[in-house]
Symmetry: C5
Subunit: 378 residues, 5 copies
């Protein structure tokens, strides 16, 4: 069917990250107010305690049990899934002496990545994690769809503990680190909680790369297709990719600042040994920033390319019409002319009039074709 579906260029665009996250804030609420959310599921809390000698793992503890770990020997890692359980967060907050503002921030998932020292003994870190989709990369962005999520992870680093707070869904991303605590005889268990923080940040930055790889693959496919067939669907995909990159950029840039601040920070909570490792994560993060900018640059080029390609095609289509019109309109005038019914049209009655006219028409056609050929239109 000719140009089917032109009324609807691309249909409904798919799921996307929000431009402005819905906060549900009421302006003027006092800071440190934990939003009690009735009916919220209780947080899932798991606790690790480890040292070079060994480790203890408790998969599901109550907030009270976790709070009782304050001051225990070795490194304590408490991981909280579920930011809606204000009671649990308050309980942990009291036990570990979290500032009311930290407690408030922990119940909200709309923080910008940031590093905030609270005195000498606590660092509060908020980062965003990109959770790449699980389907084959080939389909992930086809049609402008985006299947990754951006979620918040917060950390509180103390002298001998690390608290981590995730949104509900991202629980298993940290599994490789858990496995390393369980298995490793080496570095992770013999270092302090600052190294654990590094290991978790490293996982998060690695996930940016996996997400960027998927976006990069889709972009490269667009680069091939815009050469072959610039359709509105393709433009939609390019724009959707561009938007994802714009949104991703918003979470990747501030993470860079967070890591730079961690490196610069004089806090005794970060040991010099660990700082070397953080420098490595920082380098990866800079590379992620570079990659985001490069992909965006290429996408901007694709939008220009698309417009130019479409303009060229319009030019081409018009050239065909103009060539056809310029040939046939004069010829039709000639034939139409000798279709007039005047009584006195001497040519009509000559013996070879018809053939002369046909000859003239052929000559006109050849002349016009020659003209277009000289102008390289055909």
């Amino acid at each position: 069917m000719l140009l089917r579906g032109a009324g609807r260029l691309l249909g409904v665009p798919p799921r996307r990250a929000r431009l402005v996250e819905r906060r549900g804030t009421q302006a003027g609420v006092p800071p440190g107010t934990l939003r009690e959310q009735p009916g919220a599921q209780p947080a899932v809390i798991e606790a690790f305690r480890y040292s070079a000698e060994g480790f203890e793992e408790r998969a599901s503890v109550s907030a009270d049990e976790a709070a009782a770990l304050v001051g225990a020997p070795g490194v304590t890692w408490i991981n909280v899934d579920g930011h809606r359980d204000a009671a649990a967060i308050r309980r942990l907050g009291e036990a570990f002496g979290l500032h009311p503002l930290v407690q408030e921030d922990l119940t909200s998932t709309h923080q910008r990545p940031k590093l905030e020292p609270y005195g000498e003994r606590q660092l509060f870190v908020v980062v965003k994690m990109a959770n790449p989709g699980s389907g084959p990369a080939e389909d992930a962005y086809a049609g402008g769809q985006c299947d990754h999520d951006i979620e918040q992870v917060a950390f509180v680093l103390g002298p001998d503990y690390l608290l981590s707070f995730q949104e509900d869904a991202v629980g298993d991303v940290f599994d490789p680190v858990r496995d390393r605590i369980r298995a490793e005889a080496g570095r992770l268990r013999s270092f302090g909680p600052d190294y654990l923080l590094y290991a978790l940040l490293d996982v998060i930055v690695d996930h940016y790369f996996i997400t960027l790889e998927r976006i990069g693959d889709a972009t490269e496919r667009m680069e091939v297709e815009v050469f072959e067939n610039p359709t509105p669907k393709l433009l939609g995909t390019v724009q959707a990719l561009r938007r994802e990159v714009v949104v991703l950029r918003r979470v990747i840039w501030p993470l860079r600042e967070v890591l730079a601040a961690l490196l610069r920070d004089e806090s005794p909570l970060i040991s010099d040994r660990t700082r070397l490792y953080l420098r490595d994560v920082y380098d990866h993060q800079i590379q992620a920033v570079d990659t985001v900018e490069t992909i965006r640059d290429v996408l901007d080029g694709l939008v220009d390319h698309y417009l130019s390609a479409v303009s060229y095609r319009t030019n081409e289509v018009m050239r065909v019409l103009t060539v056809v019109g310029t040939i046939f309109l004069p010829l039709t005038l000639i034939t139409s002319c000798y279709g007039m019914n005047f009584d006195h049209m001497p040519e009509l009655h000559t013996r070879y009039g018809y053939f002369v006219v046909v000859g003239v028409m052929v000559a006109v056609t050849v002349g016009i074709l020659g003209y277009f050929r000289r102008r390289r239109w055909i």
Copy 2:
């Protein structure tokens, strides 16, 4: 009706923020000159005095009564609605020792957000507040309309007082803070006036987010619609949104600098305790800046998208015309040819001439269609 209303693409664009605020200044007026505005309504002044023990609230006081509160025990908050009442401002200015330049700035609503210390004992802060509209977000920007206002709020922070000066209309935005003074047994009443300043700035930044949420919603709707039906009305809405963002950006960026300066400032007027809270507002403000930039980026992408989509549609329209013209112009030439009235046109008198011609026409048509099919134009 075909393309009704094309003469007027979108009608009169709706209310918008001014690009340059009308100052009505006469150049060369000496600084510190309060613009007396005859017939201006007297300012509405309300005074709070509070401490951890209790509070006193006086809803409507005269400038003289407010001035008499200088040096009273506890924290004094004097809120002035109405910047046109030069007499009241001068009276308060004398009582609280405001610099002539501060007094002049207070009578003008065209200040850029700024932080100006006056000696060790006064901080002068000017910010802009975005007052989001109250209708349903769905209609707020439909048709490029903008229903939020941008208004000025100025503060003078002293050792034991805070003066706030609003334009006439924004009175009830601070109500949640008033309620917290009345109700709270906690932080607000036991901290100094610097914390009160924080609380009010927090309300103002929260209002930016509410405004940005509305703009973000409208932008996301545009993203859907530009896929489905790129009309001039839609372009108008996108451009209007872009303009709002440009204007909003102009007030959000300098507020960031103001907050950064408050954080950095060594002034004894801001206690370390309060500085932690200001850091939180600062983070929110940075997030607002990010959001403004992201929305703008997406809107710029939409403008490109619109142009590309319209170009594609033109291409499509032209393709239809070219296909139609390329088929029918040659056919019409053939029929017109045999409509000529020459005496000697042998074909006309053959038995099957007509049918042969019809056959030729069908063949030409098939050929042309095949050609277009091969080029994928149909």
Copy 3:
């Protein structure tokens, strides 16, 4: 008349600021060379001397008389109109000990705004003033016209004097300051020459705002008109406004640096009291910079809007032609077909052939209209 005047889209564009100011320099002339311009009119010099107690004003003095004021008690303000009178400038230069480079700069109006300290006892300040036009703002930029001038004002600030040098035409801009010297019992007369410098800079920055208001008004009118009727004339106006903004930006940005340097400067020539006032001018200047950027941003948006609107209109025009062509070309083929003169065309001789053909034509028309309706082209 159809599309009258299309050959000349807008006619000759109106008066505009030069992109590169004509210097008439010969490269390699030694610095400090005053360009003697034969036949140049003598400078008009006026001198003020004032202190808290009183003032003396001499409207038109010779360079020698002005030079004799060196070391007089109170504050001396010497205002020189006319930069071409090299002799007068040299005379004053000797009297006040101006560096040869300063003297050279004073005879040229092509300086960039700058602040140059010469030792501890002289500050050399060059700024540009925008002299807004005097007609009604409604006409100022209609048709891309620009009626403001950009002129140079230079100051030399000494311990007890201020020299100001204007181009010829801007004499009365400083009148309000003159009036304040004459009238005021207050600040201006009791402060030093640094405050006088402030007062004059304040007047200059105020004039930027008046100019920006006019440009802003014209821009807002364009925003309305681009919705209603995007003509080449409008595009010309938008481009002319954009150009004015680009040129204005070039003089506003460096003034900002000049003011920042004045604020930062440790020079004993600027008292702390005056610094508070300079901070105020600086804030205004920043606001002018913001406004210039915002206007420019909006104008860039308008150019995109214009292009998109014209593209849409082309699309619309083409749609009409395509609909008309798609309906009438096939119909004409049918009628033309039955105009052929073959001897054997059985349909021609049937009783209802004509009516059947008309019926077929109506059906074809309805079918095509239905097709376009479904595609929403009509």
Copy 4:
């Protein structure tokens, strides 16, 4: 053939650098983990030892033999080809005391250019090298092809040794330096390993220029061709060049930072003598950065130019069609009119009707041509 090949604008685009390098990382792997790659070819290691007096060269040594050179007198240069041989890297790492993170980075080719000091005694440098293609420059980018590779080179600089690690393919780039060690009586052999590092970086920066020259040549050819014949193929080449520049920029910019850091660095590993030479490389690198930006700027201009040129051509094509249509449609109406078969058409039977009609047609044609001439369309 008319517009042959329009269905496929440019065919499949050629080989290009990846936007995001495939890491094959599994997130969460502990740092310092060397990726053992079964079946990887063993690294090719060559060792140089030299001093002012002489040199010793061993073309192919085992990792153990290389490790045995630690602490040998003179300068030791060990060059490792093949980053996949984790065992060799680990062996060298132990011998030279490389940090686990360095060892890990050496097995990955996805590092961003960086400079990392490890204590006082080791500098770890990663750079990217552009390996320009070997064919004639004329063909290198024709059709948007890109024939250069970007590969990683890493260095570890110690007090008396330099380790260099290349990807497999770039072995012979360093040959000129090898020759200088073998031949030169001069600087290279009498300086330390820091000078050797300089010499190798100098080779790498030189290769950027060779690559940039090729891109610059191709760009200049595009500048000529876009004037003569703006085809989609040309647009494809421009876009491909732009993309190469975007990718190249991503490796050139950080190298600049690396060199700046080397210059600034207080490390005792870099002598002041060598610093003068590094400053020279740094200058070249800045020039490479400038060149990249300039080329990109010119390419962006070409994209705009292309779009404008195509738009102009469309305008031109349309003008031809409009002129033809405006002349022939009215004429055809006239002739068609007198082809009607009404019984009563008085004009048909006049003696000179036919000639009058032909005269009218000529007059109409002349009038229309004059109209177009006046509008300068022809």
Copy 5:
């Protein structure tokens, strides 16, 4: 002739600066290698010696004679024309103790503007000079031609000497300075070589302005013409100007850094007296930078303007075709209809059929014209 020359939009573009200068480097050549160029013409060396008391000028000396001037009393200025004479440069280099890197740089004309101190006693300065064309400015850029050259000038400043090295062609640019040495009783002869360096840099910056004036003039002419007649030739000129500006920018920006470094530099080679003059050159240079950016901004606006103007014209052309087509296609259908040869077409035989049909055609025409009039298409 209709659209003559459309096949070649502008012909071959004229001479232009290279994007990447051809170095002819072989990567890996040891630094400090002077490129011996067999057959290169010997350098033309001239020597000045001057002090407040007098001067000595030797127009053409050999390298040996120039070298013999080391340590002569007064200020020695040795000017070398011709960078290809490696022998002369080596001879001078030995005499004045130039670092091997300086000697190498002197034989290459592809340096970026830079300032390099070599110890306390030598400053090495490389700048680029724009040599404006000599023809009338009106023709300089017509047709996108560019008639200025960019050439390199290098300086070595010592305690009592200045060496200057030019490319071959620029010899007479320094003539005004030579004349000042010969003639002046004043500053130049009584200051040191630092002032001579200033005087030469001043000449070079003045030449930028002359070049920028020519480009600015051509740009302003384009601004007028794009309103009147947007042709591809004009677009070519605009693009060529833009390119010149891009290239010029690349040499003007780093000169600014060089001058800033000279100002900041603590080197005893630059006296405080001279620093005041350098500040003046620096100000001019900043102004040149501003001007380059402004011109570029205006040129970018012109490209947009061109595209918009062409789009508008296409719209206009289409409107004419659409109006013509919409009027004549229906009319032709009507006439064609009554040209059918059906036996039974009752209307044909009525008395006034013909006149009725003509009346209907007039009515249709009026209706269509009215429709277009209402839509303001005509």
